[in-house]
Subunit: 156 residues, 2 copies
DNA sequence: GTATCAAGTTAGCACCGTCTAACTTTTCAT
DNA sequence: ATGAAAAGTTAGACGGTGCTAACTTGATAC
């Protein structure tokens, strides 16, 4: 059957198929880089705090197994984000370091924003870990401005 | 080498490995349901506005090909969210309808929240499409409260 | 009624991200 | 120096999400 104009009640209009498809394509694109972003950000953290990033620590902090980490690190190396040597710790390339720094800044903005909104720190960290990958530059700017605002948090 | 306590400067402390792993696990869990959520929400929209949800329309609004939609719909049917008959439109099960409604409400809250923050409607829709899947109940409540607030939007 | 065209399906491929099991290498304590 | 434990690697499996090419079915126009 062909679509019928509207079934008696069509309160709000739909966006155009193209516009909607654009949004979904952007989300799929973001999903493709999420894992890489989390890895390089975590690797940078480990290097900053422990001097090196060992696969075993990456695994335990991500909550995945060692072979999963190994395979993912190989992909990241292939993509020019990390450098590896067998049985050694992992290091970031310049490109990896740049991405990590960008992610760290963005992550912190999202966390501070959520806390300023009134969320507890623990939940803020949890939600930020997912939200951060789907925040456009414009939105990030608004988050940053809100987070920096003077005055008490939005207590409820 | 074993991790050394700290490399001269360890300004901020790291969270425990377990806590951090918990956050990442929650994100991975959310990722597993993202696609299903987008599908049932879209199917509900199409049914509400056109009386039926045809695979070809699902495909064009998601920006993917017809075979991709077919395979995904089979998975959704397997998981009890939709019902299909060969060469026919797709329908939601009770479970699918319930999930779709939940997603619709959540999607709208996120969009209205972003707009209230000062974002343009177009970008709000784009970002919401990704963010919605990573918003906890607590955060959603804060978003809703902020969106409903009296007064002018946060113009910048 | 039949030809055509749109929609739907099937088969097959590729890559990602996860796991377990089994193996190798390195590190460390004695 | 050596043996045990920890860390790392490899192989193989599996499900998810995307694609193209080729086929089948259904809807439409004449
Ligand atoms: Mn993250
Ligand atoms: Mn992060
Ligand atoms: Mn979505
Ligand atoms: Mn949505």
């Amino acid at each position: 059957m062909k679509p019928v104009p509207a079934p008696l009640s069509a309160e709000d209009d739909l966006r155009s198929a193209e516009t909607q498809a654009g949004a979904f394509q952007a989300v799929r694109e973001a999903r493709r880089s999420e894992l890489a972003e989390d890895y390089v950000e975590l690797i940078a953290e480990l290097i900053a705090h422990f001097g090196e990033a060992r696969p075993v620590d990456i695994a335990s902090r991500l909550g995945v197994t060692a072979p999963t980490v190994a395979k993912t690190l190989d992909r990241l190396a292939r993509d020019g984000l990390v450098m590896r040597a067998r049985y050694r710790s992992v290091f970031l390339t310049d490109q990896g370091r740049a991405l990590a720094e960008e992610c760290r800044v963005r992550h912190d903005i999202v966390v501070r924003f959520l806390i300023r909104l009134g969320l507890d720190a623990e939940t803020a960290e949890q939600d930020a870990e997912g939200i951060e990958h789907h925040v456009s530059a414009r939105t990030l700017a608004l988050f940053a401005a809100f987070a920096e605002r003077r005055g008490q948090p939005e207590t409820r």
